[in-house]
């Protein structure tokens, strides 16, 4: 009997404690509603699903204000930024993301510019190579004549030449 009572006491204390903790935890989550700054942090990474190219955090329309409240709600439910972004993309399509997800045809936009740029680099390298090959060839007219004495003042020499020319005219 005594032990039973003790057991009951322990159990009830334990229950009270866990329940209390749980209820405190439950009360704690909605209590500090996510601040505007937290909402904007997420909204900044999303785009208005109806207007073109307007980030969700600055869009002045009523619809966007409601979407921001939705973000606040999701944040208060403990969703992560990524979960919220995925949720919006699922609901409204990939256009709400700041850049196309890396999949399928979308790779094109990521691959094309580097390919063009590398093509440019290749072209440039081949031009410079040809240049070096020609310079190595016995064509006798390498660098334009340079004042042997003072190569460091090459720039000043140019300036002086111009001044001389100007004075002549």
């Amino acid at each position: 009997m005594k032990t039973n009572a003790l057991r009951l006491l322990v159990i009830s204390c334990f229950l009270a404690l866990t329940l209390g903790l749980a209820s405190r935890a439950a009360a704690q989550e909605p209590a500090p509603t996510p601040s505007d700054d937290e909402v904007n942090r997420v909204a900044k990474q999303l785009f208005c699903p109806v207007c073109e190219n307007v980030p969700l955090d600055v869009c002045p329309t009523q619809a966007c204000a409601e979407w921001r409240e939705l973000i606040r709600l999701k944040l208060s439910q403990g969703w992560s930024d990524q979960q919220i972004k995925d949720y919006f993309a699922l609901q409204y399509g990939d256009r709400v993301l700041a850049e196309p997800p890396r999949q399928g045809l979308n790779w094109l936009v990521y691959i094309l510019p580097p390919v063009v740029f590398l093509g440019g680099v290749a072209l440039l390298v081949s031009v410079l190579r040809r240049m070096r090959a020609r310079a190595a060839a016995p064509t006798p007219a390498p660098a334009p004549p340079q004042q042997p004495g003072e190569p460091e003042d090459e720039y000043l020499r140019r300036v002086e030449e111009e001044l001389k020319r100007a004075e002549k005219s």
């Binding site: 904007n40 600055v58 850049e99």
Partner: protein
């Protein structure tokens, strides 16, 4: 009917343009100067004709002829006088007329120049200019007529120029008014600047085509159009900066550049144009890369037309909008045709465009310019892919996507850094030949100074890698540029015995192109300071506060005082908040962020309150407010460090461009000397 007169003038201009094209080609092919002269007169005639048409349209806008659909769409009786005029470019139809007007003005100015030595170019310059004018006029006449009227028919209301059968004209009592976003002083000059930039790039293009057709492929066409290119570049730069300023003042998102397709559309010809501006110098000095210059100017022209199209049509928002807009396919067709025709001409002359010289050194000025071109083209590739991709995606998969800031910033950031670095060292390298040694000798002092700046920044607590790289490059480039300028000034002063200021002045006058270029570079450096400041160090916060409460950000305190809501006679409801600004307890005055709501277009606008200094901007936006305003209002506050340097740099850049492009007085005096040898003139020169 006034509208009929305006439209008639447009149709006649169109016919005159077609005649001019035919006459110029015929005259040039058959070598008959009389026909070329006739084409020239046709060219000259287009300007007064389009002027008549444009003035007619302005008259209709000013006098409130709301039965004209364009007038109805962009004006209302409550709008002030100046906005009614600028409404000319507030809608697509009007801006096409405006574009043709500017194009015709510039082409006429070119036609009026003395052609003595370059007469063979004339007919082909006329052809290119008139083809461009005729294309825009065709769009206006057949697809986007600003003189269309409203008619009521059995099936409903229609817009047409000619009266449909069994219809009655409609006379609305008032117009819908200009898009509120466009009612801003920045919007008054931003589009004209952009358009001026666009049309003036057509001039070097037309000379390039003339050079290809006539086979006179030396650098004459480049020398003839050097100033046009600079002026085009200046206007385009100004247009871009003003657009950024307008966005900063009006759009209420704390920034100046949003990587919107419309912005990028105007930015792309600037990229190729800037690359062109540099690479033509290689051809002038060394006779290299003639083909590449042709490619660049052809690209610039295509991008100019593309940009004009995108900035107005909103086509990029969806494939459907593109399919619905009648002019979309026309534009693409025109761009495609002119691009292919120009490339075909280039291939035809390919062998004539061989390099006259050779490259000798990896570090010569010409190779560094090539790297500069590579970076510009890289940025262009990123921009083009980003702008076009949403269309491609929707077309092939039906999935709409957004390509925005993260994509562009990640991809172009390193390229911009590369350009900034090149801007620093390229002026040190010589044409023809440079080595690490020659550049190194010139560079070490300014480089050392820039590292001192870097160390100072680290010591004062700056930890952002991006900002450190950026500011180091800014210091590096600025020091080199100033050092080069300073050395030359001192050398000249020593040589001539002038005072330093006089030496400075004369040196710049002697080689305005170089020192104008240096000045532009310094302007870019100043702009870079502003861009790094706002990009890296911008912070923001948002909060709802009651009257008397404050929001704190970066040492500033924003205290909400009151909010008033009232109607204005021009058809808007204004909610205007009053906030006190203080910093570290010291009062800095009041700001008045407000929200304007335009009833007619049901459009809200967020006008920020900004406190601006060279150190930073405090940018306050009114986001929302409670029904009883004292109960609370929501503000968003941005702290934008250094952003004013961006605007300062752009003014500096204008100054530099003017220095570089100002007409040479020297050449005229040379001519006088020849005309009057031995006379008193010679003494005045020496």
């Amino acid at each position: 009917m006034v509208a009929n007169f305006g439209f008639g003038a447009l149709v006649i201009t169109f016919l005159v343009s077609l005649y001019g094209i035919g006459a110029a080609i015929y005259g040039a092919r058959r070598a008959q100067p009389a026909w070329v002269e006739s084409a020239r007169l046709a060219m000259l005639l287009t300007f007064p004709l389009i002027t008549l048409s444009a003035l007619t349209l302005i008259y209709l806008l000013l006098t409130g002829h709301y039965e004209i659909s364009f007038v109805y769409g962009v004006t209302s009786s409550a709008m002030p006088f100046y906005l009614k005029i600028t409404a000319l470019w507030g809608g697509q139809a009007g801006s096409l007329v405006f574009w043709s007007w500017l194009m015709s003005a510039f082409a006429t100015a070119v036609t009026l120049r003395k052609w003595d030595r370059d007469h063979e170019f004339l007919p082909w310059v006329i052809v290119v200019a008139l083809v461009t004018v005729a294309f825009f006029l065709a769009l206006v006449i057949f697809f986007e007529n600003p003189f269309n009227r409203f008619w009521s028919t059995a099936s409903g209301q229609v817009e047409a120029f000619f009266q449909p059968a069994n219809s009655v004209a409609i006379f609305p009592s008032d117009g819908r008014g200009l898009n509120p976003l466009l009612r801003h002083p920045g919007m008054i000059i931003h589009p004209p600047m952009l358009y001026l930039g666009f049309v003036s790039f057509v001039i070097p293009f037309s000379f390039a085509i003339a050079a290809l057709v006539t086979g006179r492929t030396d650098d004459r066409w480049i020398r003839l159009t050097r100033r046009w290119t600079l002026v085009a570049w200046l206007f385009l730069s100004l247009g871009l900066v003003l657009g950024g300023r307008w966005a900063y003042d009006v759009l209420g998102w704390g920034g100046y550049w949003g990587w919107d397709p419309v912005e990028i559309a105007a930015f792309m010809p600037w990229l190729t144009g800037t690359a062109f501006l540099h690479s033509v110098m290689i051809q002038e000095k060394r006779g290299l890369f003639k083909r590449w210059n042709m490619v660049l100017i052809i690209l610039t022209y295509s991008l100019v037309i593309f940009g004009t199209f995108l900035t107005r049509s909103g086509v990029l928002s969806s494939v459907h909008a593109f399919a619905q807009s009648a002019i979309g396919p026309m534009f693409f067709g025109f761009i495609g045709l002119t691009f292919i025709a120009s490339l075909a001409l280039l291939l035809y002359r390919w062998n004539d465009l061989q390099a006259e010289g050779q490259m000798h050194s990896m570090l010569s000025r010409e190779s560094l310019f090539l790297f500069n071109n590579l970076f510009f083209m890289g940025i262009l590739a990123v921009c083009f892919a980003g702008v076009i991709f949403p269309l491609v995606s929707e077309l092939f998969t039906g999935q709409k996507v957004t390509v925005n800031a993260p994509y562009y910033e990640r991809a172009t950031g390193p390229l911009f850094i590369g350009l900034l670095f090149l801007m620093g060292i390229a002026p040190l390298s010589a044409w023809g030949h440079s080595t690490i040694k020659t550049i190194g000798k010139a560079v070490w002092k300014p480089a050392l100074a820039s590292f001192v700046v870097l160390a100072a920044l680290i010591i004062t607590g700056m930890r952002s890698i991006g900002a450190l790289i950026g500011f180091w490059l800014v210091a590096f480039t600025a020091f080199i540029t100033l050092y080069e300028y300073g050395r030359a000034v001192v050398a000249r002063a020593r040589r001539t015995g002038e005072s330093l200021p006089a030496s400075f002045w004369h040196l710049a006058g002697r080689n305005r192109r170089r020192y104008g270029g240096y000045t532009i570079h310094l302007g870019i450096v100043l702009m870079a300071i502003g861009i790094i400041g706002i990009e890296v160090f911008q912070v923001e916060t948002q909060g709802t506060i009651k009257a008397g409460q404050s929001i704190n950000l970066s040492g500033y305190q924003v205290t909400y005082r009151q909010l008033d809501e009232f109607d204005l006679p021009d058809g808007r409801n204004v909610a205007r908040a009053v906030v006190d600004i203080s910093r570290d307890g010291k009062s800095l005055g009041q700001l008045f962020p407000r929200r304007d709501y335009y009833y007619a277009s049901q459009q809200p606008m967020t006008i920020p309150g900004v406190r601006s200094s060279m150190e930073d901007d405090l940018y306050v936006i009114l986001v929302d407010w409670k029904p009883i305003s004292a109960d609370g209002a929501t503000f968003k506050v941005y702290h934008n460090p250094l952003v004013n340097w961006l605007w300062l740099g752009s003014i500096w850049l204008i100054f530099g461009t003017l220095v570089a492009a100002w007409p040479d007085k020297d050449k005229e005096t040379e001519r006088i000397v020849i005309a009057a040898p031995g006379s008193a003139v010679r003494q005045t020169i020496s």
